[in-house]
């Protein structure tokens, strides 16, 4: 009889003994699920079928099954093996007893639950998702109508009056300054813009500046400035005298 070929029929495994060993060693089968007593029973049954006692097979089986038992026992206390080994035998015994007692209680509690479940088999009741709870009503805090009125009153204030002051501003025509600058450059080759503006109103200065830009665009003057905010110097070009007749006929309002 060859022990390794012993056919097993367990809950967790069905097949030859040596396949079981291979699976366990490869950790593809959890020893905790393997009923070792079932293996022993299977072997003893096979043994009983024979008339002679196969001592060699018995010896081999004992070695294999005891190795399996040891592996399984170690597996039950995976991380605590070392911890237990450090304890004195009495302490280890006490620790083991404590753990066994704890497990024993839970095992009996499980048995009680199983019995209870069987006893309750004739109690039928409804299960299912609970009916939806109504959507909570959105309650508003009590309100004071006067409060609302006073807030509205704040909003109902007439807007500030729009200033129309700019409507009455007087803008001199741009042409006036075009003429003036051309006249200046006829008598001088260069003049200082800021100096010329002295005594003029803001509006007049703005129109004068537009006139400058216009002249520059027509390439009738040169504009130079040494640095930002430095005095603006205006000079003449060849065309300054020649293009009098091209004076544009627009003023600020038409821009």
């Amino acid at each position: 009889m060859i022990v390794r070929e012993l056919e097993l029929d367990l809950d967790a495994f069905e097949g030859p003994f040596d396949l079981l060993l291979t699976l366990v060693l490869k950790e593809e089968l959890d020893l905790a699920d393997v009923d070792v007593a079932g293996i022993v029973l299977g072997f003893v049954e096979r043994l009983a079928e024979r008339e002679e006692l196969d001592l060699e097979a018995c010896g081999e089986f004992l070695i294999l099954v005891s190795a399996l038992m040891e592996l399984k026992a170690r597996g039950l206390f995976p991380d605590e093996e070392a911890e237990l080994a450090e304890l004195e035998p009495e302490e280890a015994a006490e620790e083991l007893a404590r753990r066994l007692a704890e497990y024993r209680q839970m095992k009996e509690a499980a048995a009680w639950l199983r019995e209870r479940l069987a006893g309750e088999r004739d109690r039928f009741f409804r299960v299912g998702p609970a009916p939806l709870a109504p959507e909570p009503e959105r309650r508003l805090a009590p309100q004071d109508p006067d409060g609302l009125a006073s807030v509205l009153r704040l909003l109902a204030v007439a807007p500030p009056e729009v200033s129309l002051a700019h409507m009455t501003l007087h803008f001199p025509p741009v042409a006036q300054f075009l003429e003036r600058f051309r006249a200046l450059l006829r008598s001088r080759s260069m003049f200082d813009f800021d100096q010329e503006m002295e005594g003029l109103s803001r509006q007049e200065q703005a129109v004068a500046f537009l006139a400058l830009l216009e002249l520059r665009r027509a390439n009738q003057i040169t504009i130079s400035q040494a640095a930002p905010f430095a005095p603006i110097r205006i000079g003449r070009t060849e065309e300054t005298g020649a293009s009098n007749e091209r004076t544009p006929a627009w003023n600020l309002r038409s821009a």
Partner: protein, 200 residues
Amino acid sequence: MEPPLRLVVANPLDRLARTLEALLVVATAPLSLEELCEATEEEKDRVETALGLLAERYGEGRSGIVLEQVAGGWAYRASRDAAEACARLFERPVQRGVSQAAMETLAIVAYLGPCTRPEIARIRGVAADSAVAGLVERGLIAEAGRGDGAGGAVRYRVTPLFERVFGLESLSQLPRLDDLGDDVDAIRERLHAVASQRSA
């Protein structure tokens, strides 16, 4: 012509009992006393008295519907007499296929919960992952927060369905842990005997 049938004018307590009856018929899970008080806008004492009336009316052997106190609340169920007929159409949740590992895990969670998978594994000596997953799927246990510290393991506790399936009014109806495992002393003695042999 016959006079129309006159209904007996219900006294207020009877009216409350009817309302409770209606609430319990709509519910699919036991309703707590608090929930019943909230829904009826009544005092606890009066609701309890009315529930007493109903419990009497819907007692085992009196009616096909039985009012019972279970899983921390009140619920209707079928009378035990009707169980056979019920069983032809319906299956009780969780009646079958609870493995030994699952039952032990369930016991541990019921007694020690909320507890984590490592705690369960420590007591049973083997990993509890698949047993826990199965029990969660069956609705017998549910997650109940996490253990202490950052990244603590998920804790589990039993659900109201557990109490209902096992017919428990509350977890205090479980047998006392001290009354279980009475052969523990014998085991301890044997272990100590082995230890003293080895140290000698």
